[in-house]
C-alpha cells in the first residue's frame, strides 16, 4: 500500500499563496486577541483560584453560576467531560483581580461555601489550585524564556548542520506554527496553562523535526545534482519526503487524538494544542519552511560552508 506514488506536485509555485493564507489567519487571530483584550491566560499566569468539584448528580453550568451569586460574574464556570455520566465535574476559575481584597484561600472557601448554601446537589471537592501573583509573573517569564531559548538552540544547530537561510526558514516555520496554534487556542476558548505551554514547545520541536527531514533530503539531492536550481531541488525533496511527512503526521495525529478523546479533562487542552500544531506543522513544512529558505537563498547566495562541512563529515564517516 502506498499513498503517494512518485509524487510530483509543484509546491514551490504555491509558496506566495501559502504565505498569504497564513498571514491572513494570523492577522485574524491577532485581531481576535486584540478584541478580547489579550490572550486567554489561565490562572497559572494571571494568578487566581481554581476549584474543581464533583456533583453526585447532573448539574448544569448555569445552576453553579447562579449559585455563586456576585462571584459568578467574575468567575468562569466550566463543565468537565467526565467518564461517569451520573456525575458532573465542574471547574470554577476565579482570576486574580487588580484590587484583590481577599486572599486566595478565602476565595476558594467562598466558592465552596456559595455552592454548598445554594443546595444544588451533594458534591465532593476534586482539587484546588491557588496561584499567587508573583508565581504567575514568574511562570510567564520562564515560559517565554524556555520558548526563546529552545528556538535559539535549534536555530544554532540547524545553521551549523545545514546553512543559515535554512535555519531561518525552520525558525520562521516554527514561529508560524506557534502563532497559528495560539490563534486556534483563542478561537476555541482554551486558556493558556502550563500544560498548553508544554504542548506549544513540543509543537516547536515537532515542526523543526519535520522541516529537518526535508532539508536533509535537500542536502542529499544538492550533492547529487549541483547544477539544478535550488527551488527545483527543494520541490523534488518535498515530494520525495511527502509520503513520510503525511504518514508521520497521520500516526502522531492518531496518538494525540486518542489523548484528546480518552486522556481526561486535564490533558484535553494539551491534546487540542498538539492536534492543531501537527496540522499546521505539516502544512508549514511543505509550504512555508522551504519557501522561506528559497526566498532568502536568492538574496544571499549560498556560502557553501554548510554544504562543505557536511561533505567533510561524510568523507570522515
Amino acid at each position: 500500500m502506498q499513498i503517494f506514488h512518485n509524487a510530483n506536485y509543484n509546491f514551490i509555485k504555491w509558496r506566495w499563496h501559502a504565505l498569504i493564507v497564513s498571514l491572513v489567519v494570523i492577522w485574524a487571530g491577532v485581531a481576535t486577541v486584540f478584541l478580547r483584550g489579550g490572550l486567554p491566560l489561565g490562572i497559572d499566569f494571571t494568578g487566581g483560584t481554581v476549584v474543581m468539584v464533583e456533583f453526585s448528580k447532573p448539574v448544569g453550568e448555569d445552576a453553579v453560576r447562579n449559585a455563586l451569586g456576585p462571584i459568578g460574574s467574575e468567575a468562569v464556570v466550566q463543565r468537565l467531560v467526565s467518564s461517569d455520566a451520573t456525575k458532573t465535574d465542574i471547574m470554577i476559575r476565579l482570576p486574580l483581580t487588580k484590587n484583590q481584597q481577599t486572599t486566595l484561600d478565602e476565595d476558594a472557601a467562598r466558592i465552596e461555601q456559595a455552592i454548598r448554601s445554594a443546595n444544588i446537589g451533594e458534591f465532593i471537592p476534586l482539587g484546588k489550585d491557588l496561584v499567587g501573583p508573583t508565581v504567575g509573573a514568574d511562570l510567564q517569564r520562564k515560559g517565554i524564556w524556555a520558548t526563546l531559548a529552545s528556538l535559539g538552540g535549534i536555530l544554532l544547530y540547524v545553521a551549523f548542520r545545514f546553512r543559515l537561510t535554512f535555519a531561518i526558514g525552520a525558525i520562521v516555520a516554527t514561529f508560524h506554527d506557534i502563532l497559528i496554534t495560539l490563534v486556534f487556542l483563542t478561537w476555541f476558548h482554551y486558556d493558556l496553562s502550563l500544560n498548553v505551554i508544554a504542548a506549544i514547545l513540543t509543537i516547536a520541536g515537532y515542526s523543526v523535526n519535520d522541516t529537518i527531514v526535508v532539508f536533509d533530503r535537500v542536502r542529499e539531492n544538492q550533492k547529487a545534482a549541483r547544477r539544478e536550481p535550488l527551488d527545483s531541488i527543494v520541490n523534488r525533496s518535498v515530494n520525495q519526503t511527502l509520503g513520510r511527512t503525511i504518514i508521520t503526521s497521520g500516526t502522531t495525529f492518531l496518538a494525540v487524538f486518542a489523548l484528546y478523546l480518552f486522556g481526561g479533562e486535564v490533558l484535553r487542552g494539551f491534546a487540542f494544542t498538539m492536534i492543531v500544531g501537527i496540522i499546521t506543522g505539516t502544512y508549514s513544512t511543505v509550504f512555508i519552511a522551504a519557501a522561506i529558505a528559497i526566498i532568502l537563498s536568492r538574496r544571499t547566495p549560498p556560502t557553501q560552508v554548510g554544504v562543505k562541512a557536511a561533505e567533510a563529515r561524510r568523507r570522515r564517516a
Partner: protein, 518 residues
C-alpha cells in the same frame, strides 16, 4: 554476512531485561507525581527580610548592652540591614570604637556621621549569606515538621531562581488547612521576665516609666491568663531568658485546670540559664511568648530548671501541633504561600486511568495502521516502539523520575517520534527497493542514510527538551524529562533494534533476495 547478529540480539535482550528489572515491581518502582496520586503542593516564599531584621536588632542590642556595661549610654535605632548609634560623647569615642570593632565589625561596616553618630551597615556578603541561611534553615525546619506529620515521600526543597522560595509536596495529605498551619507556624518561643503588666492598654502599662519604653524593654500583646483571654499588654525585658532553641522536647499535657497545654523540657544549657533567671526573679511573672503573643504569664514560685509548661486557650489538636512545631524548632522567618495546588485522590486516579487508556488506544491505532500500510515491517515498528516505551519506563524508574500527567503526554509523543523514525526508514527502503537493489543492500543503504536524518531530528528535539527542563517549571519539567529519555532510547530502538530485526529475517533467506514485506 551478518556475523555479529547473535551478539546484537543478545544486547537487545539484555537491555530489555535491564529495563524491565528496573521498573519491577511497578507499584513501588514507578513514582507517581502529585497530579496522579493526589495530595497537595505548595510554593512558599521565605520572608528573608525577617532574618536580616533580627540579625540587625541582635547586633545593635549586643553593642548597646556591651557599652552599658562599660558605663556608656547610647541610643540605637535598628533598621533592616543597618543600625544607627547616637549619643556617643567624644571622651567615650575611643572606647566605643574598640568595642564596636570586637563585637560587630565582622558583619557590619562602620561609618561616622559626626557629632557622635555612627551608622553600621551590614556587609553585602553577610546579607546574601543571611538570606541563604534563612532559606536553608527554613527548609530543614519544614522537613522536620513534615516528617513528624507522618507524610510518606514528602518533598521539601529550595525552588526557583529567586533564591527565596521553597517547594513542599505532600502526597496523600487530606487536611490541607492543618498542614499549612504546621508548615508556616513560625513557632518562635521566648520566655521573658515581666517588668510591668498585664494592663488593658499601653498608656497605663507605661505609667511607672513616664510613658516611655525603656531601651532594654519592649511591649508585647497577649492575654491576661489562660483563664481570661481578654487583651492585655505586658512590658517585658528585651533579652529572653530562654528561647525555643534551648528546648530539648515538647509534648502535649494538661494544666492544673485540666485544659490542654504543652509541657517542655530544656536542654542542659537552657536549664542552667533558666535556673539562674528563675532563682533571681522569684515572685515575679514570667511571660511565655509564642510568635510575639503572650500566651500566659505565670508567677515564678521557685527556681525552675529543666521543665516548664505553656498554658493558653488551646484545643487538643492545637496542643499536639504546637508540641510538634516546638520540637522541630522555630522558623527563621515568616513564610508566604505563593502557590497551592490540591489534587483529590479521585481526580488523580481518574487521570491515571485516562492517561493509560489514551496511551494504549493510541499505540493500538498506530500499530494497526503500520501493519496495514507496511505489512510485516509493521511488526518491526511495533516491536521497536513497544521496546522504546519499556526502556523509557526503565530509565524513569532507575533515575527515580516522577511520573506526572504531562509525563504521560511525553510517552504519547515518544510513540509519535518512534513511528516517525520507522516511517523514515521504511519509506527509504521502499525507494531503495524500487531502485532495483537487493533486500540486503536496500536495508544497509537505508539505515546508513536515514541514521543521519534521525540524528539531526533527534538532536534538535533533545536541544528543545533540554531547554524546557532548564527553564521550565513543574509540569513542563516532567514532560521534558520523559521526552528527553524517550528520544535517547528511540535512537537505539528505531535504528539498532529495528535494523537487527531486519537482518535477523534476512539472515534466514538467500543473499540475493529482492523481496521484502515493507
Amino acid at each position: 554476512m551478518y556475523k555479529n547478529l547473535k551478539w546484537k540480539l543478545l544486547a537487545i535482550v539484555v537491555v530489555t531485561l535491564l529495563a524491565v528489572w528496573s521498573f519491577t515491581p511497578p507499584s513501588t518502582k514507578i513514582r507517581l507525581g502529585l497530579d496522579l496520586r493526589g495530595g497537595v503542593h505548595f510554593v512558599l516564599a521565605v520572608q528573608t527580610d525577617d532574618a536580616l531584621r533580627l540579625e540587625t536588632e541582635t547586633a545593635s542590642e549586643q553593642l548597646r548592652a556591651g557599652l552599658k556595661d562599660k558605663g556608656i549610654t547610647v541610643t540605637t535605632t535598628p533598621a533592616l540591614t543597618e543600625f544607627t548609634v547616637t549619643g556617643v560623647s567624644s571622651p567615650d569615642d575611643q572606647q566605643f570604637r574598640a568595642l564596636a570593632d570586637t563585637l560587630v565589625s565582622t558583619a557590619y561596616n562602620r561609618d561616622a556621621n559626626g557629632s557622635g553618630t555612627y551608622v553600621f551597615s551590614m556587609k553585602p556578603n553577610v546579607i546574601v549569606q543571611t538570606r541563604a541561611d534563612a532559606v536553608t534553615q527554613a527548609v530543614q525546619t519544614i522537613e522536620r515538621r513534615v516528617n513528624e506529620l507522618g507524610v510518606s515521600e514528602p518533598i521539601v526543597a529550595p525552588y526557583g531562581s529567586a533564591g527565596d522560595q521553597i517547594i513542599v509536596q505532600l502526597p496523600g495529605t487530606r487536611d490541607v488547612a492543618r498542614a499549612k498551619q504546621i508548615i508556616s507556624n513560625t513557632a518562635l518561643l521566648e520566655l521573658k521576665i515581666v517588668e510591668a503588666g498585664p494592663s488593658p492598654d499601653e498608656a497605663s502599662l507605661l505609667q511607672s516609666h513616664n510613658g516611655q519604653v525603656p531601651p532594654d524593654m519592649e511591649v508585647v500583646q497577649g492575654m491576661v491568663s489562660s483563664k481570661d483571654p481578654s487583651k492585655a499588654y505586658y512590658l517585658v525585658r528585651k533579652v529572653a531568658a530562654v528561647t525555643g532553641r534551648d528546648l530539648r522536647n515538647a509534648r502535649p499535657t494538661v494544666d492544673e485546670y485540666n485544659a490542654p497545654a504543652v509541657s517542655f523540657t530544656l536542654n542542659s544549657d537552657g536549664a542552667v540559664k533558666f535556673g539562674r533567671v528563675t532563682r533571681e526573679n522569684i515572685n515575679r511573672q514570667l511571660a511565655i511568648i509564642l510568635d510575639n503573643q503572650v500566651q500566659s504569664a505565670p508567677r515564678i514560685d521557685s527556681e525552675i530548671n529543666a521543665e516548664g509548661r505553656i498554658s493558653g486557650t488551646f484545643t487538643q489538636q492545637e496542643v499536639q501541633d504546637l508540641s510538634l512545631v516546638l520540637r522541630s524548632g522555630a522558623l527563621p522567618a515568616k513564610l508566604n504561600y505563593l502557590e497551592q495546588r490540591e489534587v483529590g485522590p479521585t481526580l488523580g486516579a481518574d487521570s491515571i486511568r485516562a492517561g493509560i487508556t489514551a496511551s494504549l488506544i493510541g499505540l493500538a491505532a498506530v500499530t494497526l495502521f503500520m501493519l496495514l500500510y507496511y505489512r510485516l515491517a509493521g511488526i518491526n515498528a511495533f516491536v521497536s516502539i513497544a521496546l522504546n516505551l519499556v526502556i523509557l519506563l526503565g530509565f524513569m524508574s532507575y533515575l527515580g523520575a516522577v511520573m506526572t500527567l504531562p509525563g504521560i503526554a511525553g510517552f504519547v509523543l515518544t510513540i509519535g517520534m518512534g513511528v516517525d523514525s520507522n516511517v523514515l526508514i521504511f519509506e527509504r527502503i521502499r525507494e531503495e527497493l524500487a531502485a532495483k537493489k537487493s533486500a540486503r543492500q536496500a536495508i544497509a543503504a537505508s539505515f546508513d542514510r536515514v541514521f543521519i536524518t534521525i540524528v539531526d531530528t533527534h538532536v534538535s528535539s533533545i536541544i528543545a527538551a533540554a531547554f524546557l527542563f532548564q527553564f521550565g517549571t513543574g509540569p513542563i519539567r516532567g514532560f521534558a524529562t520523559t521526552l528527553f529519555f524517550g528520544l535517547l532510547s528511540n535512537v537505539f530502538t528505531s535504528v539498532f533494534v529495528s535494523r537487527t530485526l531486519f537482518e535477523f529475517i534476512l539472515s534466514r533467506r538467500p543473499a540475493g533476495a529482492t523481496q521484502l514485506s515493507v
